[in-house]
């Protein structure tokens, strides 16, 4: 098999003296949706942030298209066609939806801005209605759509999504996951997804990883993982929809 788009090799990340990632190995291949699930505090978001260089991994390597990006600055990584929709959405609340999207296109220099904008509006028609409105006045779901759209405005090859379902109603979650699936199918966008919502995430993903206390304990195709007894017990019971 050809080399993965994103390869995480033996990454250890510390917060001060506290170890958060205890040697993580993970691959994301071109055109895949990969889901990382795990309980609170397992280190999922830390891994996502480590990929983006904040905090930097103390040991191990992160390779993107074969290039070592472990020690690069966050904004340099963002210019390599990797986009991130960070945890908690982090849209710009006092700026309009349109301006938020403009910020997303900052890296590209606005070359394909008009056509990209149209694409975002077909993907998330709600954003079109809200175009002139301030980001902070949107509902949670709309903010999440905006965060994803903003990330997509930079024309990424790899999209990192940190808990896109956080605090959203099931129907909105379905819409957002639907949009992610569409992007993957139609445009071949590679997606790396961190989720609490294991059922939805694994159903959508081609492959999944399970993280417990800073190490990957299980991996497999989304369907395999969903079928496993341990996963059902730990992440799905009661949470099934």
């Amino acid at each position: 098999m050809s080399e993965p788009l994103l390869a995480v090799r033996g990454v250890k990340t510390y917060y001060g003296n506290i170890i958060a990632l205890k040697g993580v190995d993970l691959d994301v291949n071109e055109g895949e949706i990969v889901a990382l699930i795990g309980a609170n505090g397992a280190g999922k978001s830390t891994l996502m942030m480590t990929v983006f260089g904040k905090p930097q991994a103390r040991e191990g390597q992160i390779l993107y298209r074969g290039q070592d990006i472990t020690r690069m600055e966050t904004h340099e990584i963002a210019r390599l066609q990797i986009a991130q929709s960070p945890e908690g959405r982090r849209i710009f609340p006092r700026m309009t939806v349109y301006e938020n999207l403009q910020m997303g296109a900052a890296v590209t220099g606005g070359q394909h801005f008009a056509s990209d904008l149209e694409r975002m509006f077909t993907l998330f028609p709600r954003l079109k209605e809200r175009m002139g409105q301030r980001g902070g006045t949107l509902s949670g779901g709309e903010q999440q759509m905006l965060a994803i759209a903003r990330a997509l405005m930079s024309r990424p090859r790899l999209l990192l999504l940190d808990e896109p379902s956080l605090g959203l109603a099931p129907l909105i979650v379905k819409q957002i996951f639907g949009a992610i699936g569409e992007l993957n199918k139609d445009e071949g966008l590679t997606v790396f997804l961190v989720e609490q919502n294991a059922y939805h995430a694994l159903k959508l993903a081609h492959r999944g990883y399970v993280m417990v206390n800073g190490v990957i304990t299980m991996s497999g195709t989304g369907r395999e993982l969903l079928a496993k007894e341990e996963i059902r017990a730990a992440y799905l019971e009661g949470g099934r929809q």
Partner: protein, 443 residues
Amino acid sequence: MSSPARQPFGLAALKDAAIAALITLGLFAPVMGLRTAQDNSGLTIVENWWPVLVAVAVVFFGRLILNAFFWSDNGFKVTDLIPRGEATAKVGETLAKLLAPVLIIVAIGLPLIPGLDRYYIDLGILVLTYVMLGWGLNIVVGLAGLLDLGYVAFYAVGAYSFALIATVVIPNYAPGLELWAFWICLPLAGLLAAFWGIILGFPVLRLRGDYLAIVTLAFGEIIRIVLLNWYEFTGGPNGINRIPDATFFGLEFKRNNGFADFFGLDYSSTQKFIFLYYLILVLAFLTNFATIRLRRLPIGRAWEAMREDEIACRSLGLSIVKTKLTAFALGAMFGGFAGSFFATKQGFISPESFSFIESANILAIVVLGGMGSQLGIAIAALVMVGGFEYFREFEQYRMLVFGLAMVLIMIWRPRGLISSRTATVFLKEKKTVSADMVAEGRG
């Protein structure tokens, strides 16, 4: 009496009035009841209980009346007097639309009013200087969201750069250019101030909020103390005097062979001040114009985005280093321009003019005006600086009124006079939501 849940009128109201009266007694007895007086045996205490009694009575009965007529459940409430955010936002926006052109016309026309006292032109110059400083600081605080408590440092750098170049460098190395001193030094002073902005920017790249504020505060003080103590270079507390006047592109404002002769006018000492007035007006407009244009460019958007969320900015591929440093440098540059103007207008500068209170004043103008709002800042500068100067006779009460105004504005318009941020792009219709409606705290 109408609502059964309430105690019969009287008891609760009486209790309330009695407590208020007691507090009044406690407060007023020592203040109004006792007074010291000079006596041939020394200081004695004079007792005078009447005013206290009157005060207590007024409070007691006033409280009773308020309880009876105004504070009943379905009656009028004092808090109703405070306008709601939405209402004031609307009023603010309409006013803003009308006020901006009016202010511009007044600003341009003021010196042309025949027979106008020179005092008003001086006042206008002072106000405009602060408008310009406010607009300059607005780039750093309002747009980029970097709380800068040491802005006066750049004002000082600009003023001293101009003063030193004009009094030392030019007479010694380029004596032919003396008449052009101001026009040569203005851009240089701006550049030097911008350079110092970058110098300040580097160590504070990683700081935010309170920590940044402390460092900038210290920076302002460092500059002032260096100016005060580096006697050989800056003249220390004696300052620098005989700073050349600004010329009308090489034409001096003097009785013979100057500006008046060249244009065939009668000489008048006011001409120089009218010129200075228009000079600072142009400089202020330049600041405003630059800010408005920059806001629509990617760099301006990056400033605002950085104010909103630094982490999101990084993840979108923006270099925080570049964004912060440009904000500091540009804000400082306009401070430097204002400083040069100040030096040429005064003809004398000393470190005294660049104390922390100046930084605080400029910051207050920006905050009261509404961070990021150009018009709001102009109004705030007009009210704070102009109002202060105009009511000089009431010196004793100035700080009192100032404090009251601050408190009232923070109650009514917690985000400043004009808080609605105008979007940089309009699509078909202009749809702004007042900042009051948007979550607090991130601004």
